[in-house]
Each structure stands twice: as C-alpha cells, then as structure tokens.
Symmetry: C2
Subunit: 487 residues, 2 copies
C-alpha cells in the first residue's frame, strides 16, 4: 500500500503560486563594510534576487556579500555567531556569497523573511545593488479566502496575521515552520488543515498530507510517526508521539466532515483502524491509555507537566470524532469507537477525576493539578457545563499549576472554552494571547510566545525559534467559524 | 567600427571543452568539525559537484559546508582570514554553502584547483559526501597538440606543465589567471597566442582577442588599454601601458605570420596604424619614445627599474615585426615602419647606448645599469652577436643590477638568448627557472616565482598570487619551436 499512498500523495502535489515583491529602493552605492536593510513590507517565504552593478569602474574582482534573512526586526541586529542553542545553527538564515559578474543575481535557496540585511564583505570598488525582488511562493491561494464580515477590528487584524502564518507554511506540504523545520508534523498539520478549511480551502494539500502519513512506516507496536519528510525523498520520522498519532486521525475525520470526500477517507481508514487497535492495546486494566515512555506524549512544551489525563482526553476526543465521521458514512465501525469512547470516559471519571478536590489530580499523574488535564477532559467530554468552566477558571488562576506554554496548547484551551459555550471569553483569550503578538508587531504568529519572556526557547536560544509557525495559525479558524455562526 | 569588431569577436567565441574528473573516493562520513581533502591529480579549472547523503538518519536541518579550492598543496592549510594583501580578498577561493536537500549538489561558480578541502561547519547528524566530480572546462583542445619528439625528459616535463598552464588560462578569452584576474591583458595575450600557435592551435580564440582589443576605447592620446573585460559586458580597461599596447601590435603581427590570415590582419590594421601614430607623437627630439608617466610602462615588476631603454627596445621590436608582416603582405606601409625602425635604432645607439661603459646606462634612465635594457636592446636589434652576449652576461652577473622578477620578463630574456643563437644557454635558463618550479611540484607555472623566496608578492601577500598564470606558459613555445628546427 505504501507505493499506492505515495502515488496518491504525488497526484495531490500542489502548484506553487508565485508573487513578485519589488522592494522600492534606489540603486544603492556600497563599499566594503557597508550594509543595507530591505523591508519586504510583510512576512514572505520565497527567493531573492537583485542586480549587481558598479558605480564608475567595472568591478575587477568578485564581490563577497553577507545576506541575512530576518523574520523579525529584532533579528536584524542579532549576532548569529553567538548562537548556543540545541538545534543545528545552519537554520539561521545567513549566506556568504561570491558574485563573479555584474547583472542579475538569483539566490537559489528559499528563505523566510520580512527584512533582508545585505553587508558588503569584500568588493574591489564601489558597487551598486538595485532591482531587489523577493519572489514569494506558497500553495495558499489568497483569492480563495472569503471576506471576514465582522466589526471587531482587533479580531480582523488577528485573522490577517493568522492567515499570513498559515499561507507562509503552505508549500509542498503543510510545513511546520518555513524558516526552521519545514517538515510535516501530524499535530501541526491537523491545526493547519482545520484553519485551511476556513481560509484557503486547499483540500488537495490536506489530502496529500493525509496520504503521506498513510504511507509512513509505523513503529513496531503499530503507531504512525509524529513527522515525516518528503523532499527530495520520502522518509518516515522515528519519533512516535501518541497525541500526534491521534491528531492524524483527527485530521482525517475533520477532512471528511469538511469536504465530504468518502473515497479518500475510506482509502486511508484501514491505516487508522490498525493504529486504533495499537491504541486499544495500550489501554491498561483500569481503561486508561498508558504508554510505556512518557517521552512519547507531547501535549505542550511544559517540562513539569504530567500527561496521563491529557492523553486520555486526546484519545476520547479522537474516538468521538472518528465515530462521528464513520456514523455519517454509515460505516459499521462507528459503534466500535463509540463503545470504546464510553469505556474510556467511564475510566477517566473513575481513575483520573478526583472527586474530593473536583479536579484531575490522579495517581497516574502523581496527583499533579494542571490546566492541560482540565482542557483535555473538557474536549474529551468527561466534564462539561458550568462545572467544567469553574474548574477551568480555578486551575488557570492557580499559581501552582504548570502553565500553558505553546500557541498549540492555547488552541486547545480556546477550543475547550468554545465547547463550553464561552465564546466571548474564548475571543478575549485570543485577543490577550495572539492579539498581544500583533500589538508587538508580529507579521506572523510565533512558535513560542510567553508574554514578557522573549528569551524563552525550547531549544535553549530564542535565535532559533520559528517566528511563523504552523500551530499558531488557528485564530482564523476560531474567528471565521464563529463569524459563520457555526458554533 | 566598435560594433563590427565586437560582432567579429562574438563570431569567434569558442566552444568550451568539458572533461569530468571523477575523484576516486569512498563515500566519506563526516560530522561537525570534520574535513577532507580531495586531490584532483592535476590542476584544473571548472566546476565541482558532489552528492550529499546521510549515514543512518535523514538530515533534519540544512548542512553548512566550507569548501576551499586550492591551487597548490601549501594552500590547503593557509588561513585566508589572515590575508592582508592589496587585492580584493574575494579572489581567495573559499565558499560557505548551505545545502537544504540530500542528493547531488552542483556548485555554480568556476574554480581553479588541484586540491579541494571540504569542512563541515554545521550538520545535525552524520552526513556522507560522495561522487565527487570536477568538470573541467577550457577552450584548449588537447588533441590538437603534436607529440613532442625530443629526448630531454626535463624539457618534456617543463613543456607539459607549460601546456597545462596555457590550457587552464584558455576560456572565452585568453585569461590572465583562472583563479585571479581572469581578464584579457594585452602582453599576456601576446605570449599565450604565441604558445598557442605551437600547441593547441586555437586560432579562432586568438582572432577573437585581437578583435576584442580592436573594439576597445582608446585613451585620449590614442592608446589601446592594457586590458579589457568581456563577460558579461564588454568594458575597456582604463590603464594605458605603452609596452602592452605595443605587444598587442606584436600579437597581430605574430597572428598573421603564423596563420597567414590577411583578412583579419587588414581588418584590424587601421586601429594599429592609428595607434602607431600616437606612438610616433611620443617620440622626443632625440628620437626616443618617452611617455609622460613612467607608470605607463610595465616591463617587469621591478620597482627600482628605469624603463626608457627597455621601452625603446619594445618599440623597435614591434616596428620590426609589423614592418615584416606588412612586407609579406606587400603592403605599402611596410616601408613606413621600417624607416621609423631605423630612426629609432639610430636614436637608441646615440642616446641610450653608453659607449664608455659598453652598456645602456643613459641619462633618460638616470644612468642605471639593468638587465632589462640589455634584453630589450638585443630584441630591438640595437646590439647583437657575441658583444651583446657578453654585455648580457655582464649585467646578469652584476649584483648591483635590478633583477628580473617575473616569468614574463624571463620570457624575453630567453628570447634574447635565442636571438643571439645561445640555444643551449636559453634551454638551461628555462630549466633553471621554470624547471625549478616543476621540481618543486608545480602543476602549472606561477605568476610570480623568485627561487628561494615564496613570500614574494607584488600584492603584499603571496596568498593572492596566481599559481597558473598566462605569461608563464611560454616554455612550450621555445621548446617546441626549437624541436621543429624553426630557430
């Protein structure tokens, strides 16, 4: 089947859409040591070209330039040589190029940038640079986006930045970050696809990514990888995060519910069905999903977090969506997952819910109280209504609780609020979290955002953080879904 | 006429000949900080490609490599960051490249190298490098070279290195040096064309260069520039060296004498004729060619050198060759230049020759005794026979005389010896000068070679010296001309 799935993925390879951004600038005269900063006016992903010339005398030696692509204004003056993070420094977008001839020079690699800094390392004489063109590329068709008919200007602005985030992560696949990572991650993909259904409507790209994961090599115990590579070669990831695997299933259910394409759903369903058996095999005697290694659960970049309750919530959430999709199809397996859902919910109430404290401090999680468990227990349908809302507010206001760190987990917090009917509060949270990035000048939403703490990085150096990141694009989903009255 | 000359130059643009040099090597496994050195087995000019792969795990970040192209073995361990020379450091062949994808990577620029050093600056995991291919390019067709039928193995080896030097300087034009400069210089071109007539026989390339200079903008006082650029745009040089301008005339005369192509000669002759009038205008009341600025005479990279006698010699040499070519054509101007030759020779004997000392210590040259004057007075026919030979030996053995520095001036020294019938001594000089480079491991002949003084550089740092240089290729001319019994 792998070959078949890859063939189907190839059939859905999108055409990229190109746009030339001509950077208004006079020809600049520069000598050794000089530098200029170009402003693209917005955040784009693509390729850069310019014209090298000379002022008075033909350049009698090659010209060496240092060209730095900056996602944000702050990055312009960052000294990459001081980088000390955990990820490979090669992600830092800086090139040293030697140009032999005057005329147009096209840089071949793809970059993600709002600003471009060009420094002259060596030149024999005064050179000129002109005709700066950044050719953006994306598989997001901006003309497919419907006008957002709401009066709230702040939400409109947040929607604009969220769409820009998604657009710049849409290429041959839904990329994680166009500067750094660029691979297809299951949980990011699920959120991108969800937002795409409400914005660019590139269903072929979603289909492609669904097929790519279907083609991936599963772990010995039957789980799909959290990520994969597909360019130039297909290569399955080797990290098997349980919540990511479940979110792949959610992406498939979402796709069918939005697009109604039963053929693709049924094409891929056997892979999902097999994997759901692998999940069933990890259910313990209490009915709780327990994976041997805690490192196989993500939930959030929150080192202190205990994750059993959260994972159980993701599992419930997935079972419910899958069962619903199958029910809509009239598929006999709908009941199978529905019955597993009921068992897992009962188990959660019995073994994860702490009736004494009215929270989810449980033995599996060393009785830790945290926001994440409550969010996922709401999304999993274990708790609901005003009681759940009060519980959520209580843990959010509890200073001792491990905090939500990623925009990714913030998405599920908002989704939980929405599920409880707290639309106003959900929109307020979007404003206070994503809206704050916009107020601080974001052109796209960041991978990591902890208000007041720009130094935070899961990679030990914020230089390497991605400033346009897949999992941060979902405000457009919420805002547009609400505007359509679908809630 | 400029347009016409450029059109003719274009018509003679050579096809480049490519050869793939596959560097025998196992796939190399490398991590950050590792480096490898590849040996091409000989000196080549061309483009480099290789295949990037991974050992166990897909590379999840770009790979940053530093790739250094070395003309010589010594250059491998040279630290370019310590460069302090006068020419632009961008000539130093070192690239920092970022590679996003596994597979074949083709470097686009052209390099001149015997060795290639690859260092891994950043990689996320162990990478592999394999399938190293250097695709050499030249407009020299090695199959056109006749077998050299001589028994002297040392001369055969010198001829081999000299041919390699010329071959690697032959591209769209006769380049000065394939690493550094790459432009068309008149005096270098003249020596290259001369050697080409006896080796690769690419007369179209000679024709192209003759037309290119014919198209050049002359100085206000009527002189052709010493150099020009032609790629991507035609651009006339702005340095008007008198001896270089005369050597352009010599290149045209040589071309006609070797190829017999009167059409091209007569096409270009009007340019030469006009310029010879400019020379005539610089003749002073004594009949000596005197240019206002001494900086407009090259002769040799010898800062102490006084150059009037030498330049007069170049002028005489040029008049004689031009007159001979015109005479062979039956052109009426033959007599004009012959008569100027006789006047200039008489003037040299009267005002430059020092009868008391039997040398060329003269008032114009502040009574400096130097080898260069003697060489050029021999080549100009002012002195000849055993008397001239003794004079030459005397100045060569005079410790106080400014020494010959460049292979270029060494060429004319050998030519002077040949003219005096001292073939054996000339060949000995070739062995002691060029042969010493071969003994020291040269794959091509250097721009600068002062035995025992590798630190010598006209640019204040030997790092920037060209180790394969146009004007050093002429041993093949002498050796093959002698082997053909043409002397």
């Amino acid at each position: 089947m792998k070959e078949y799935y890859l063939k189907k993925a190839d059939e859905n390879l999108p055409e990229l859409i190109y746009e030339k951004i001509r950077i208004a600038s006079e020809a600049r005269e520069l000598f050794r040591g000089d530098s200029i900063v170009l402003d693209l006016g917005d955040y784009y992903v693509g390729r850069f070209s310019f014209v090298l010339g000379y002022k008075d005398m033909y350049l009698d030696a090659p010209v060496r330039l240092c060209i730095k692509f900056c996602e944000t204004k702050e990055e312009i003056d960052t000294d990459f040589s001081t980088y000390h993070g955990a990820l490979c420094a090669s992600w830092l977008q800086e090139e040293i190029i030697n140009i032999d001839m005057i005329g147009e020079y096209k840089m071949l690699r793809r970059y993600a940038a709002r600003y471009i800094k060009i420094s002259v390392v060596y030149t024999p004489r005064i050179l000129t640079l002109s005709d700066f063109v950044f050719t953006s590329e994306t598989s997001a068709d901006v003309s497919s986006v419907e006008k957002l008919e709401i009066d709230d200007l702040e939400l409109c602005l947040i929607d604009k930045v969220a769409r820009n985030t998604l657009k710049n992560c849409m290429h041959r696949v839904f990329e994680d970050g166009p500067k750094r990572d660029r691979r297809l991650w299951a949980s990011d993909f699920r959120l991108q696809a969800l937002t795409n259904h409400y914005t660019f409507k590139n269903s072929a790209l979603v289909r492609r990514c669904l097929y790519l994961f279907a083609a991936a090599d599963r772990s010995e115990d039957g789980f799909l990888p959290a990520y994969l590579y597909e360019n130039p070669n297909f290569f399955s990831g080797t990290w098997y995060l349980r919540d990511f695997a479940l979110n792949y299933v959610n992406a498939l259910s979402d796709y069918y519910m939005h697009i109604g394409d039963s053929e693709t759903f049924l094409d891929i369903y056997p892979v999902v069905k097999e994997m759901m058996e692998a999940f069933a095999a990890e259910i313990d005697e209490n009915g709780i999903l327990v994976t041997e290694k805690q490192g196989n659960i993500f939930i959030d970049w929150q080192g202190e977090l205990k994750k059993t309750a959260s994972l159980q919530g993701v599992y419930l959430y997935t079972l419910e969506k899958l069962s619903s999709a199958l029910a809509r199809l009239g598929h006999e397996d709908a009941e199978l997952y529905n019955s597993r859902y009921e068992s897992a919910k009962t188990a959660a109430l019995r073994h994860l819910y702490n009736a004494n404290e009215n929270n989810f401090a449980n033995a599996y999680d060393e009785y830790q109280v945290n926001i994440h468990s409550v969010v996922w227990m709401i999304l999993g349908g274990v708790v609901s209504g005003e009681g759940a809302w009060e519980m959520l507010l209580r843990v959010m206001n509890d200073e001792k609780c491990p905090k939500i760190v990623t925009p990714y987990m913030n998405h599920y917090l908002v989704e939980a609020m929405m599920k409880l009917g707290k639309e106003k509060e959900a929109m307020e949270h979007i404003k206070s979290f994503w809206g704050l990035m916009v107020k601080q000048g974001a052109d796209a939403f960041y991978e990591v955002f902890v208000p007041g703490h720009p130094e935070v990085s899961p990679y030990l150096d914020p230089m390497i953080n991605s400033m346009c990141h897949a999992w941060s694009c979902t405000p457009s989903y919420f805002i547009r879904k609400q505007a359509q009255g679908h809630l």
